[in-house]
Amino acid sequence: MVIPTEPIGSIPRPLALIDALKPGAKSAGAHLDALYDDAIRDTVSQFEATGSPVITDGEQRKYHNFLTYSVEGSPNTSPDGFKIPFAAGHIRRMPRLTAGPFRYQRYADRYLTEALRYTRLPVKQAVISPSALSLLYPRDGIAGYSRESFIDDLLSEHVSEVRRCLELGACKVQIDFTEGRLAVKLDPTGALLSSFIDLNNLALARFSALERQRLGVHTCPGGDRDSTHSADVDYAQLLPSLFQLNVDNFYVALAAEPDRGRVLKIISEHLKPNHRLFVGVISPISAQVETPEHVRDRILEAAHYIPVAQLGTTDDCGFSPFCDDTSTTREIAFAKIRARVMGTALAAQVLRSH
C-alpha cells in the first residue's frame, strides 16, 4: 500500500533570482534567463533529492505570483486592482482589467516544458483558478466589454491553459483555489463562494471524466510571508461547497488548523467516492521542520476519518506563492518536503501492518 504524496507547487526562489527581480534591478534578458534556468534546475534537483515521487518546478518562473502570472504585463491591465490584506499586515494588490478582450499573456505549460527538460519524474503543474482571476474585472464594468464576455473569455483561457498542461504530460494540474475562504469572508452568505464554485465547475465541465482524474483543487487560507488572508474563516463554511467542485483530487491545508479532527470530520461527510483528499501535513508558514514521525502521526490522525484508499498527503500551501517571499529558505522548504515524504512512508507502513 502506498499513500500518494505531492507538493503544492511553489519553492522559495534563490536569493540571486529574487534580487534580480526587484524593481530597479538591472537584470534582464539572458542574464535573467540564466538565473531562471539555474533556479529551475536546482529546484528540480533538490526536489528529486527529497525522494518526492511527484515534483514541480517550484514555480520559479511564475512572476510575480501564483495569481497574476498569466496576465503579468498584459496591456489591458493596470496594477491598481483589488487589494488582498494578509494577517501579517501586508497586502498584495491584484491587477485590474481595463479593457477587453481578456487574454492570458502566458500559459503555465511553458513552465512545465522547462521543468520536463530537467527530470524524468512526474511533474505537476499549478494554475490559477478562473474564480481568482474573475476579481480582475472592475466593479463598474468596462465599456464595450461586458462581464459576461469577460467570463466567457476567462473560462476559455483557463480551460486552454489546463488542457495545454494536460496534453504536455503533466501528471496532475492543480487549480489554486485559495480565494474560497476569502469568498466566504467577503460574503458570509455564501453566494460569492457558490458563484466561485459555479465558475470553476463551468470550466471543469469542459473536461472529460478521465481528464478530471488528473485535475485537482488546492485550497488554503492564502499563504504569503508566513501569513494568511483568510485563516479566520471557518473551514466548515468552505468545505461543503469545496467538494462540489467537479474534480477528483483535493489538496486541503490542514497542518495549521487548530482543530484538525473537526475539519477532517466535515471533510469525511462531504468527500465523494471518486475523490482523493491530499491532507496538508506540513505547515509552510511554520519555521520548524516537522519530523517524519510528526508527519506520520498527522497522517494516522487523518486516516481515522478518511479511507486510506482516498488519502494522500501534501503541504498546506506553496512555500513561496509570491516570488519575493523570503520568509522561508529553500533549505527549510526542501527539508519539510523530505519530512513529508518520509513521514508518509512511515504512515503507510503502519497502516499496512494494520
Binding site: L135, R147, F150, A183, D187, A191, L192, F196, L199
Partner: protein, 740 residues
C-alpha cells in the same frame, strides 16, 4: 482601516457583480447543457435505434457476428454468436476472443488460427476457413466456416475487426447425404450395366452379391442358389462378398432352419435390427444359432431372388456385426436389385439353354448328316450285297432252264440258287435283327445254357468263312462246364459274328483265337486275330451302325457293316459288355465279351428243341395266293414235292372263290395283291364257312412287328417273311398235323 473596509466593500461588490455574470453564464451553460443533453438524448435514442436496428439486423442474418477491438477483445456478439459460443454478449465483452471463440481443425484437432488476430496483423479480409470446429462453452462441437475483416474509422485506421461465421453442420450433413445418394446411384448404374452385359450365371450372382453388400452397408453378403448339372442333379452354389470363403467354408451349406427357410421358399423379405433377438433364431440344434467361429451377425437382411416365372432362384443374405444397420431404404434398394438380378439370371439361363440347344441341334444335325451318309453308304452296300447273290441265282436259273443242261449242271444250279438264297436270307435276317435291336423290340429267349454248346454252334456258323481263307482257329475253353443264362441262338450269333469278322479282316492263313474264361463276376469270351487291326481313331465307332473301317471297305469280302452293331446290341440285351481292342492298323484286333455270371443253380435242362416228328407227313390241301407267279409256283412246286395238294391263284378274289371251291386246310396268302389285300381275304375267309378251321399263313415281304400284328389281327394264324425258309414251313405243316 476605513480604507480597508471600503476596499473590501469594493471587492465584495465587484465580486458579487461578477457573481451575477457567473450566474448568467451558469444558467446559459445549464441551458446549453440541457440542450446538449436533449440533443444527446436524441442522438442517443437515434444511436440506440440504430444499434437496435443493427443488432436486430445482425440477429436476423442467420450468421454469427463477433466484433473485437484492436487488442483482440470482444466488443460485441449477436444472438446467433451467443447461441453458438455459449457466451452472452455481456459475458464476452472485454474477454480475449480466443477465450470466447475456441476453434480447432476438424481433422488434426489442433487449435486453429484466430481469424481476428490474423486480420489485425495483416489488415485485410481473411476469407472463409474450412474444416473448422467451434468448441462452445459447454464443450459441444459445431462445424463452422468463418471469415473476418478489419473495421476502419473514417481516417482508414484499423479500430477493430469483425468476424462472421455460420454453422455448416446441416450443409455438411446434406453434402454427406448427397454424396451417399450419388454413390448409390452410381453403384446402381454400374450394377445395372454389369447385369445387362453378363451372361454367366455365377458371374451375375457375384455381381449381385457385391452390389447388394455395398448398397446396403452390410459387412458381408452371401447368395445361395441351385443349378442343375449335365447329369440332371441339383447343386447348391454360393457367392460371397465382404468376407473370404475361408470364413464360411468350414460351416457347410446353410440348412433349412426356421430363419433361413422362408427366404429359400421365396416368402418375402426378412429385415432385423438384431437377429439374435428374433424368436426364430437359435431354435435348431446343434448350434442353436450361429456356429462357433462364425462372423458375428446382428443386423440381418434376407431377400429371396425370384424369377419371372415364380421360381425361387436363390436367397441373398446380408449381415453386419452392429445392430440396426439396415434401413427401410436399404431393404427397398436390395429388393429392386434382386428383381433386376432375377431377370438377368433368367436371361442368362435362357441364353445358356439356347446355346446348349443350338449345340445339341448342331450335334444332332451332324449326327443326322453322318447317319444319312452312313445310310447312303449302307444302302449302296446293301444294294451291292443283294446284287451279288442275284447274279449267280439268275445264271443258275438260266442254266437249269437250258435244255442242254446236264443233270449235274442242273443240280449245281440248284445248289447255287439255294446257297445264294440262303445268303440273302441271312443278310435280310441280320437287317431285321438290327432293326429290332435298334427299336428295342427284339426279345431274348433266355435260358440256362452251357457255354460249350453255344460256342460250337457259333464256330459251325463261322466255319465257312474261316475255312475259305485257310485261317487257323484255336479255341480255349475252361475245363469245367460253364453255365450261363443267355439266349443260346443269339449268343451264338454274337460269337459267330465276331469270328466271321475276324476271318474277314485277316489275311489268308491267319490265326484266330477264341478264348473263354470265367471269374467271380463274369464270363469272358474273346476273339483275337492277327488281321488288319483297327486304327485308334476308329476304335470308338466300331460298334456303331453302318460302320466299316475304311480300310476294310476296299475288300471284296463285302458285308453290310452291321454285324458288330448287332453283336453289341445283343450283348447289351444280355446285360453284358463288348469291347474292341487293337494296337493299330496291321496289328490285329481283339473283341472281348463279358457276360454277367448267373447265380448258379442246378443246370436247367434245355427246353426240348422241337425236333422233327418221326410221324409221316399227311397229304394236306393247300391254297397259295400270290400275284408273283414265280414265287407262287416255286412254293407250290416245293410243297407238291412233299406230297401236298396245292392250288395256286394270283389275286385275292380268285383266292376267295377257289377257297370256297376246294375247301383248303391251309391257305398261304400274299398280303400285297392287286385287287384285294391278303388281310381282306383272310377276314372274309374267317367270316365264311371255313371259319376257324382254316389255317391261314401270311407270306409277305413285310416283316415288321406291326405287320405281324396286323396279320394276326386279320385272322392269320402265322406270319412268314419272304423268302420262306422251306424247312420252317414244312415243320409248321408237320406241327399242324400233330395238333390235328
Amino acid at each position: 482601516m476605513a480604507s480597508e473596509h471600503s476596499e473590501e466593500n469594493e471587492l465584495r461588490a465587484a465580486a458579487l457583480k461578477t457573481a451575477e455574470s457567473i450566474l448568467i453564464a451558469r444558467q446559459r451553460a445549464e441551458r446549453e447543457l440541457l440542450a446538449a443533453h436533449a440533443a444527446l438524448e436524441l442522438k442517443s435514442e437515434e444511436l440506440r435505434q440504430q444499434r437496435e436496428w443493427f443488432e436486430v439486423t445482425l440477429d436476423s442474418i442467420g450468421d454469427a457476428v463477433i466484433t473485437a477491438d484492436t487488442q483482440g477483445r470482444v466488443t460485441f456478439m449477436n444472438a446467433v454468436a451467443e447461441v453458438m459460443t455459449g457466451w452472452t454478449c455481456t459475458q464476452a465483452q472485454g474477454e480475449p476472443l480466443e477465450r470466447v471463440f475456441q476453434i480447432i481443425h476438424e481433422q488434426t484437432r489442433q487449435p486453429a488460427d484466430n481469424p481476428i488476430k490474423k486480420v489485425l496483423e495483416v489488415g485485410r479480409i481473411i476469407g472463409l476457413a474450412n474444416h473448422t470446429a467451434l468448441i462452445s462453452r459447454s464443450g459441444s462441437e459445431l462445424a463452422i466456416e468463418d471469415s473476418a475483416a478489419p473495421i476502419r474509422d473514417t481516417q482508414g485506421n484499423i479500430c477493430g475487426a469483425v468476424m462472421v461465421f455460420h454453422d455448416v453442420t446441416e450443409r455438411r450433413s446434406a453434402e454427406k447425404v448427397l454424396r451417399e445418394e450419388t454413390r448409390i446411384l452410381e453403384l446402381l448404374n454400374a450394377t445395372g450395366m454389369a447385369l445387362a452385359a453378363q451372361l454367366d450365371p455365377h458371374a451375375l450372382a457375384q455381381t449381385m452379391t457385391d452390389s447388394a453388400t455395398l448398397l446396403s452397408g452390410a459387412a458381408f453378403g452371401a447368395f445361395f442358389y441351385n443349378v442343375f448339372g449335365p447329369d440332371g442333379n441339383s447343386y447348391l452354389l454360393y457367392t460371397l462378398s465382404g468376407a473370404p470363403r475361408e470364413a464360411f467354408e468350414r460351416f457347410g451349406m446353410p440348412r433349412n432352419t426356421p430363419l433361413l427357410d422362408p427366404t429359400f421358399r421365396g416368402e418375402g423379405v426378412i429385415r432385423s435390427g438384431d437377429i439374435t433377438k428374433d424368436p426364430r433364431y437359435g431354435t435348431m440344434a446343434p448350434h442353436r444359432g450361429m456356429p462357433r467361429g462364425h462372423l458375428p451377425v446382428r443386423s440381418y437382411l434376407a431377400v429371396p431372388v425370384v424369377s419371372r416365372s415364380g421360381e425361387v432362384i436363390g436367397g441373398l443374405f446380408l449381415g453386419h456385426p452392429d445392430a440396426d444397420v439396415f434401413s427401410e431404404r436399404a431393404e427397398r434398394l436390395i429388393l429392386g436389385l434382386s428383381a433386376q438380378s432375377a431377370i438377368a439370371m433368367d436371361n442368362a439361363r435362357l441364353f445358356e439353354a439356347a446355346q446348349q440347344e443350338i449345340l445339341r441341334r448342331e450335334r444332332a444335325e451332324a449326327a443326322l448328316q453322318e447317319t444319312d451318309r452312313r445310310k447312303d453308304e449302307f444302302l449302296a452296300t446293301l444294294a451291292h450285297e443283294l446284287r451279288n447273290p442275284l447274279a449267280p441265282i439268275r445264271q443258275a436259273a438260266l442254266i437249269s432252264k437250258t435244255p442242254a443242261a446236264t443233270e449235274t449242271q442242273k443240280r449245281w444250279s440248284h445248289d447255287v440258287i439255294e446257297r445264294q438264297v440262303h445268303h440273302m436270307a441271312l443278310l435280310l435276317d441280320d437287317l431285321l435283327d438290327i432293326s429290332r435291336v435298334t427299336r428295342g423290340t427284339l426279345e431274348l429267349r433266355t435260358q440256362m445254357t452251357e457255354l460249350t454248346k453255344v460256342i460250337d454252334a457259333a464256330v459251325e456258323t463261322a466255319r465257312p468263312s474261316i475255312d475259305s481263307k485257310r485261317h487257323v482257329l484255336s479255341i480255349e475253353l475252361p475245363p469245367e462246364p460253364v453255365h450261363l443264362v443267355a439266349d443260346p441262338l443269339r449268343l451264338a450269333q454274337v460269337i459267330s459274328n465276331l469270328l466271321t469278322n475276324a476271318a474277314k479282316y485277316t489275311d489268308s492263313e491267319g490265326h484266330l483265337r477264341l478264348h473263354a474264361a470265367r471269374d467271380a463276376d463274369a464270363i469272358t469270351i474273346s476273339v483275337t486275330d492277327n488281321g488288319i487291326g483297327i486304327p485308334c481313331e476308329a476304335i470308338q465307332g466300331v460298334f456303331a451302325m453302318f460302320s466299316q473301317v475304311k480300310s476294310a471297305q476296299d475288300r471284296s469280302d463285302g458285308g453290310l457293316g452291321i454285324g458288330l452293331a448287332l453283336a453289341k446290341g445283343l450283348v447289351d440285351l444280355h446285360g453284358g459288355t463288348i469291347e474292341a481292342r487293337s494296337e493299330g492298323t496291321g496289328r490285329g484286333s481283339e473283341f472281348v465279351v463279358r457276360l454277367p455270371t448267373p447265380v448258379l443253380s442246378a443246370p436247367q435242362p434245355s427246353p426240348a428243341v422241337d425236333t422233327p416228328s418221326t410221324a409221316p407227313d399227311r397229304r394236306r390241301r393247300l391254297l397259295i395266293a400270290d400275284d408273283n407267279e414265280d414265287a407262287a409256283e416255286s412254293l407250290a412246286a416245293l410243297l407238291r414235292m412233299e406230297g401236298h395238294d396245292v392250288t395256286v391263284v394270283n389275286n385275292g378274289r380268285d383266292a376267295l372263290e377257289t377257297a370256297s371251291a376246294i375247301q383248303p386246310e391251309i391257305a398261304l396268302l400274299d398280303i400285297g395283291m392287286p385287287d384285294i389285300s391278303g388281310y381282306e381275304v383272310a377276314q372274309q375267309l374267317r367270316n365264311g364257312p371255313l371259319g376257324q378251321t382254316l389255317t391261314l399263313i401270311a407270306v409277305t415281304g413285310w416283316g415288321q412287328d406291326r405287320d405281324k400284328a396286323r396279320a394276326l389281327g386279320a385272322g392269320f394264324n402265322h406270319h412268314f417273311t419272304k423268302p420262306i425258309e422251306p424247312e420252317t414251313l414244312l415243320e409248321l405243316l408237320r406241327s399242324e398235323d400233330r395238333q390235328a
